[in-house]
């Protein structure tokens, strides 16, 4: 039963996935969309399984102090930190801090109204079309004059991870509105800490890994890319033309070089690539059919 049920389910859904392409009925389309939603939910659930799996794989190695166990501690700690800062804690402790407006009569009952915003210096204040910092270089609060009527005051921070605040006030001629606010920090996937870790830890590490490729390509070019025979010589020649033809310097050296590179891409490359893709597609169809028909069972954990 442990293997038969998944096998039958796989067969049914596999047949359906193929058949729905040939049944242009709206009911089939609706059912298909439902199944695709299920697929999305299953994939999301796989993240949870992945987390549990990482714990199962790495924790015993840390406990036994196996080789490189220190890196596994960093892995688990990093995953734990990202999980914790990715939760919207501000919803638990309340993040609905709002800016307040106090309206008072001004020195004169005529002329424009005045808006004074008392906010930290790093807050961006927008009053109507006027934009400025919460405090100027001298530490004075942002002050502007507006036409009498309704005015919208927005407070935000330039950096991500803070909840913008917005208040509206209706002012008459000469009135002075004093707005006090400070956009609160958010937690969760759009929160300050999560975004900071993404921008300052994940993004540089991710980029560094990819950038290292340039060094290894150069090293491999010296050590491995050799014209040992005619085929390797052809590959090498094509690579040189592509390298030079796809950069601006290629055109500066010889006007026709980019065209030759484009021909290489359009004709020999696309021809070969198409053959590989078709071969892979036929292989995928064959494997898919074997899975649907129950002949291929390795995905169920058997041989």
């Amino acid at each position: 039963m442990k293997k038969t049920l998944p096998l039958v389910l796989g067969m049914l859904f596999g047949f359906y996935a193929v058949a729905e392409f040939y049944i242009p009925h709206h009911a089939v389309g609706t059912l298909t969309d439902e199944f695709r939603s299920w697929a999305g939910i299953l994939t999301a659930a796989a993240f949870v399984l992945g987390g549990v799996n990482i714990l199962q794989v790495t924790w015993p190695k840390i406990r036994r102090r196996e080789a490189d166990w220190e890196y596994k501690v960093i892995l688990l700690a990093a995953a734990g930190v990202m999980l914790l800062v990715g939760l919207p804690w501000h919803r638990l402790v309340g993040s609905d801090a709002k800016a307040t407006v106090t309206v008072a009569a001004g020195a004169s009952a005529a002329g424009p109204a005045t808006v004074i915003v008392e906010a930290p210096a790093d807050v961006v204040v927008q009053v109507g079309s006027a934009v400025g910092a919460g405090k100027d270089a001298g530490g004075k609060p942002f002050t502007t004059q507006v036409e009498p009527g309704e005015v919208s005051i927005k407070l935000s921070r330039r950096v991500a991870g803070y909840q913008p605040q917005e208040v509206k006030a209706t002012l008459t001629a000469g009135q002075v509105a004093t707005v006090r606010g400070d956009p609160p920090m958010l937690w969760g996937k759009e929160g300050r800490v999560f975004v900071w870790l993404y921008d300052h830890v994940f993004a540089p590490c991710n980029s560094t890994m990819f950038a290292l490729l340039a060094f290894f390509v150069a090293s491999a070019a010296f050590r491995a890319f050799r014209a040992r025979n005619v085929e390797a010589g052809l590959l090498l020649g094509a690579a040189m033309i592509m390298l030079l033809g796809r950069i601006p310097m290629g055109r500066a050296l010889w006007d026709d070089l980019p065209d030759i590179a484009q021909w290489l891409l359009d004709v020999p490359n696309n021809g070969g690539r198409r053959a590989i893709m078709m071969g892979a597609a036929v292989g995928a169809i064959a494997t898919g059919l074997r899975v649907i028909l129950g002949l291929e069972r390795s995905h169920l954990g058997s041989d």
């Binding site: 994939t43 060094f215 090293s219 891409l265």
Partner: protein, 301 residues
């Protein structure tokens, strides 16, 4: 000379085993020096980039475009220049834009793009070196909608094709119901968009869009990809399944040239120039060493 005394190694054999950190140093210099002393060689667009530009250029004002940002921070040097250039192109044509991503590592990056590129003006009037029409800051849920991230790889792309609203539970990333956003009226699935722009750094990406929804729903799609993926996607351009393809930083520089505003793609093209030269010199040097090697002459490999 005694029989047991070994002959000194040939110079080419010594070079075969030389410290590869010298190559790393050469590559480092090739990357850093052009950033300080740019060559400024003009980056001309290739036919695939021109086709992508023409696809955007042919959009009438008020068109609606879906942009899929399937990328991560590692691919930003190659894809971000195109993103900025195509957003300037779309914004100055007053095109409404809907964003989504199928990459779990993309959402904070997408949020940053919304703040720094979409909600800000890329080329306001008076921008030095830019003679095109200025763009304006876009307003969330008025000029653009960010649908956010959905996982599910190929399956979720298929759902985008048949029912985009269902894939995102009928809500934008900020929780606003799509029914309450005027620019989303009449949009249920991908084929309701006038153009699909794919920024693709790998799987899932442009290839899956072509295979699962492109041909099935007859979508007009252009793609930008990293340089290494260009050969993967070029066959789809040739068959018309992609109506434009911007492959790598050099092509992004070409797109910047067409849009008329030079950016990171153009300055990065200098790094590409010198970096590629270093790789070519490494290949030539490696082959010279290989061919003069006495061991190879004796028939060895």
């Amino acid at each position: 000379m005694s029989a047991t005394e070994q002959k000194p190694a040939h110079w080419s054999e010594k070079l075969q085993t030389f410290d590869r950190r010298w190559i790393f140093l050469a590559m480092s210099l090739a990357i850093v020096i052009p950033l300080f002393f740019p060559l400024g060689l003009p980056a001309k667009p290739d036919p695939m980039t021109k086709a992508a530009y023409n696809a955007v250029e042919s959009l009438p004002p008020g068109s609606r475009v879906f942009v899929s940002l399937d990328m991560d921070p590692a691919s930003t040097p190659e894809l971000e220049p195109f993103f900025k250039a195509v957003m300037l192109h779309l914004k100055r044509k007053n095109v409404k834009v809907v964003f989504g991503t199928t990459w779990y590592s993309a959402p904070p990056l997408v949020e940053r793009y919304m703040r720094e590129v979409v909600e800000a003006s890329i080329a306001p009037a008076g921008t030095a070196g830019y003679s095109g029409a200025p763009d304006r800051p876009y307003v969330k849920n008025v000029d653009y909608v960010n649908l956010g991230f959905r996982d599910g790889k190929g399956a979720i792309i298929q759902l985008f094709g048949s029912d985009l609203r269902k894939a995102f539970d009928g809500r934008a990333n900020d929780g606003t119901a799509l029914d309450q956003i005027p620019m989303m009226s009449g949009i249920k699935q991908l084929k309701d968009f006038d153009l699909i722009v794919l920024l693709n750094a790998g799987f899932p990406g442009a290839k899956e869009y072509v295979q699962f929804v492109g041909t099935r729903y007859k979508l007009k799609m252009i793609a930008a990809c990293t340089a290494v993926s260009t050969t993967d996607l070029a066959p789809y351009f040739q068959t018309g399944q992609l109506i434009g393809l911007v492959g790598g930083m050099a092509a992004a520089a070409g797109y910047e040239d067409l849009v008329g505003k030079k950016g990171a793609g153009t300055s990065g093209a200098d790094v590409l120039n010198i970096g590629s030269i270093v790789v070519m010199l490494a290949i030539i040097f490696g082959n010279v060493v290989y061919f003069v090697s006495p061991r190879r002459r004796r028939g060895g490999r």
